[in-house]
């Protein structure tokens, strides 16, 4: 690294400076003005000088030592005036927080080694820049934050913490890391709530985010006393083709046939043509070529035909900078019809809608009268989860079953739900259209004769809201969900003549929304959509149902590691070590269980080209503050003119010493 020179003098000043060395030399060539001293005789002096002049070349050099020293001094001064400097960085402040991104995108290889290696290298450089007494902490973050080293001034420990940061295949959540970082800088208050009183002294800190910026903007976060600096890692010309979605569905044309859908995204700046291969249990079953325009995505569809079960693997053949997202897996579960139990004293519209052809393909309906609730068969089935969905029409069991439920005109018996008095002539004012159960449903012309406004438990979602209160809601219960309708569909009551008859409480059954709702219900609650489950995200906790309660299980990770555990009392299998991408084999209670897949499927991670602002600098957004890459550096010149002047002073002192002592001549 060569220093840059900053010219401090104008041309004529340089001329003057340049004239000084010849002048000094000229003065040396001229006779030295010596002080005359009369002595008795120069006889002995002449003899002495002659003796000394025997080794005259060395003597001449020695004699010229002062001249050389003066020229050296002048050279040093001229160098100092040139102000040689290096572009350097300067750490301002005395408290530093280094946030090192170790998410999946940091494994991109567009920089030597990987982005994570470069980030670690940059952090080590920053630590080296720290002054004595400065303190720093090291935090690595992906979807969570991990404090590698809390505040210390021990640089060796900081360096060790940086070196210990390992790559992960997780997504990025800067917010977690920012919360950790802001803990000391903004004490006594949460990052979101500025009304908290401050209880401790704020310790402002310099925050270094060493990342590739492959994450969404962090909104609603106040940095407070943190002074952020974004150290951008990576190159703008990075190329990546990613599989951002992969699933398997029944074919629209023939429900017996399966289709695989995938979405390929080209995150690079160049159009690419890639080859996509599909494997079933590691056997190549299909191949396709796709042209993907730059910064665009294309869908890919493969007809699978009749496939019962297995592991589907899709692979994109493309030499890009991030290989993690070039593969995706789907575990095909064997087709299973949902088991639906309808307990009703007679509800033809509901029976009809649940027994249509489409519905019977995805679910097997069993209809029982309310007396069945007293049956041992029901009790056993409800307790061991034999049903996927139990519909209670105008009746209620003694205990909630271990299944998803739909209560029509009644309430679950666990006491969490309550309802007001019956109100007539209701007006539907709103539906939760975004909820999967209410998709494609229009209740605009639906009339409800009478209903009880519901008071759902906390965490529940109101599906249908009326002018008197919620008429339908869905609430979670352990691993299941309960849907409660505050109104009946068909009701029995006596008329004026005293005859008991069935009456429609609503015109809903005559609307197409009723059929759609029934299908949504099957899809959502019966578990029939588990067909092409594309699995879980890395780092998430996997919950698998249907295992034997309190049984030992063992999971084999894609890397071949074996992790053991025990299912809970409800027969749920919890597994958290999902850091690797791929298919996890599960063995529970000695029996082979359904495997599950972990896929990246994160557009933010796959898009390894960072956002640029107008100036072309990489940016990240934190709390509506745009941080440009390295904009927070204090650009500093590392200058050595002080050193040069110091050296000059030393030379001057040496000259003075030699002149006075005449050490050498």
């Amino acid at each position: 690294m060569f220093p840059e020179l900053a010219n401090m003098l104008s041309w004529w000043q340089w001329l003057v400076l340049g004239a000084i060395p010849p002048a000094i030399v000229a003065l040396y060539f001229l006779k030295l003005k010596r002080q005359a001293l009369e002595v008795p005789s120069t006889y002995l002096w002449h003899k002495s000088i002659e003796d000394l002049h025997v080794n005259s070349i060395w003597q001449r050099l020695r004699k010229n030592l002062l001249l050389l020293l003066q020229l050296l001094l002048l050279l040093l001064l001229a160098l100092a005036l040139l102000r040689p400097n290096w572009h350097g960085r300067k750490l301002s402040g005395d408290r530093f927080i280094f946030l090192i991104d170790n998410s999946a995108s940091m494994q991109a290889t567009d920089v030597p080694g990987s982005r994570l290696e470069e980030a670690k290298g940059k952090t080590l450089e920053l630590i080296a820049e720290m002054k004595s007494g400065d303190v720093a902490m090291v935090v690595s973050f992906s979807d969570g934050a991990r404090v590698g080293q809390s505040f210390t001034d021990n640089r060796a420990r900081l360096r060790d913490a940086v070196k210990a940061v390992e790559p992960t295949q997780r997504s990025t959540s800067l917010r977690e890391a920012l919360k950790v970082a802001s803990g000391l800088a903004n004490p006594g208050r949460s990052s979101a709530d500025s009304t908290d009183t401050q209880v401790a002294e704020a310790l402002p800190a310099e925050l270094f985010i060493i990342s590739d910026g492959c994450f969404d903007a962090v909104e609603g976060f106040s940095l407070g006393n943190l002074k952020p600096t974004f150290v951008a890692i990576g190159r703008p010309e990075a190329a990546n083709v990613a599989i951002t979605a992969f699933s398997v569905r029944h074919s629209e044309a023939d429900m017996e046939l399966l289709q695989a859908f995938a979405r390929l995204e080209n995150c690079g700046q160049q159009d690419v043509t890639v080859s996509v291969e599909l494997f079933l249990d590691d056997r190549l079953i299909d191949r396709d070529r796709q042209k993907i325009p730059a910064r665009d995505a294309v869908p890919v569809t493969f007809d699978l035909g009749l496939v019962e079960s297995g592991v589907l693997r899709m692979k994109v053949e493309h030499d890009d900078h991030l290989s993690l997202d070039n593969e995706a897996w789907v575990v095909l579960k064997p087709p299973r019809r949902a088991r639906v139990l309808l307990i009703t004293s007679g509800n033809e519209p509901l029976q009809w809608v649940l027994e249509t052809d489409s519905a019977s393909e995805v679910g097997a309906l069993r209809i029982e009268p309310p007396e069945f609730l007293e049956d041992k068969q029901y009790a056993a089935g409800a307790a061991n989860g034999s049903y996927d969905l139990v519909i209670y029409d105008r009746c209620s069991p003694k205990e909630v079953p271990r299944a998803n439920t739909l209560f029509v005109g009644s309430l679950p018996p666990d006491g969490k739900w309550s309802a007001g008095a019956e109100v007539g002539s209701l007006q539907i004012i709103d539906i939760a259209a975004s909820h999967p159960l209410m998709q494609w449903i229009d209740l605009g012309d639906v009339i409800i004769a009478a209903g009880k406004p519901l008071q759902p438990p906390p965490g529940a979602t109101v599906l249908i809201d009326s002018d008197v209160g919620p008429m339908a809601a869905i609430g979670p219960r352990e691993a299941f969900e309960d849907i409660v309708l505050g109104f009946t569909i068909v009701d029995e009551h006596a008329d004026e003549d005293g005859r008991v008859g069935k009456y429609f409480s609503t015109n809903l059954p005559f609307r197409i929304a009723f059929t759609v709702f029934a299908l949504n219900l099957f899809d959502y609650l019966s578990g029939s959509d588990a067909l092409g489950q594309s699995g879980f995200r890395p780092g998430s906790t996997v919950e698998l149902d249907g295992a034997t309660p309190r049984a030992k299980f063992r999971v084999r990770t894609p890397a071949g590691r074996k992790v053991g555990g025990e299912t809970d009392k409800l027969g749920k299998l919890h597994f958290a070590e999902t850091d690797e991408l791929g298919v996890y084999g599960v063995n529970c209670g000695g029996k082979k269980f359904h495997p599950f897949a972990v896929n990246l499927f994160d557009t933010a991670e796959s898009d390894i080209v960072f956002d640029l602002n107008r100036k072309g600098d990489p940016i990240v957004n934190i709390g509506y503050v745009e941080l440009a890459g390295q904009a927070g550096w204090t650009p500093a010149r590392r200058e050595i003119w002080q050193l040069l002047l110091g050296l000059g002073l030393a030379v001057l002192l040496l000259e003075w010493y030699i002149y006075n002592r005449r050490v050498y001549m």
Binding site: L32, R34, Q35, A36, L37, E38, V39, P40, S41, T42, Y43, L44, W45, H46, K47, S48, I49, D51, L52, K63, R661, R662, V663, Y664, M665
Partner: protein
Amino acid sequence: MPDTSTLLSPQLLAKLEKMELISRKIFRGRMKGERRSPRKGQSVEFADFRNYVAGDDLRFVDWNTYARLDKLFLKLFLEEEDLHFYALIDNSGSMDFGTPSKLQYACQLAAALGFIGLIRGDRVRIEPLDQSPTSAAPVFRGRQSLWRMLDHIEAISPGATVPLSEGVKNFCLRNSGKGIVVLISDLMDKSGYEAALRYLVSRDLDVYLVQVLSAEELDPDIQGDLRLVDCEDGDEAEVSVSRVLIDRYQKTLAAFIESARDFCTRRGIVYLLARNEVSVENLVTGYLRTRGLVR
């Protein structure tokens, strides 16, 4: 005791009165002095008898012995004679250095030795180096001549431009008498001191050489870049004084002194190095006594 000039202090005179000059050689004095001569002569001190031979002075016949033995015997007495003492003072420019100056020191030394000679009845002649070849310096004899001698010495001024060899040669031409000669010089003559000493030796004189050097010459205390100017001929030497140079100078000086001493020893000349810091009293009563010039 008369008041003496700056040359001789009363204390020194008191010490010098008890001393006498010694010559290692036998010289015939011209007049009777207070010095006992190895030769037999006329004095009150009896030495021996010898048979009378024709022509002997009848005054020295021992008539008492003749009356007893009827034989003529001559009484022999110890002869007392005087001594020629010469002091040759180098009054060249180089001698006018030091505190006291080397010339003054030389004059003091010459005065002290001359005084010893005077009180012993010797013939004392003190000459500067640039004494005119034709007119010799006066000869002093007897205690009463002290003042004249001191005046004469004090009149010697520095600045002689005569080379050492030339001055000594002229001295030898002027003075034919034998005796003791003390050359007091710093020997700082670029043409060399050897020829001068050879002249003295050739005259069969009892030669003493006192080389007077000042402290400044023996241990120069100078610094810096200097142009050394020779006070005699204006010759210049440019030096940048350093430890090395000083060491080298002192080695050269030591070699110079040693060569002079060696030269003198080979030729029977008594050499003595005198620093101008050592008082004349010490020199005379100490060094010169051990060297056998005075007793």
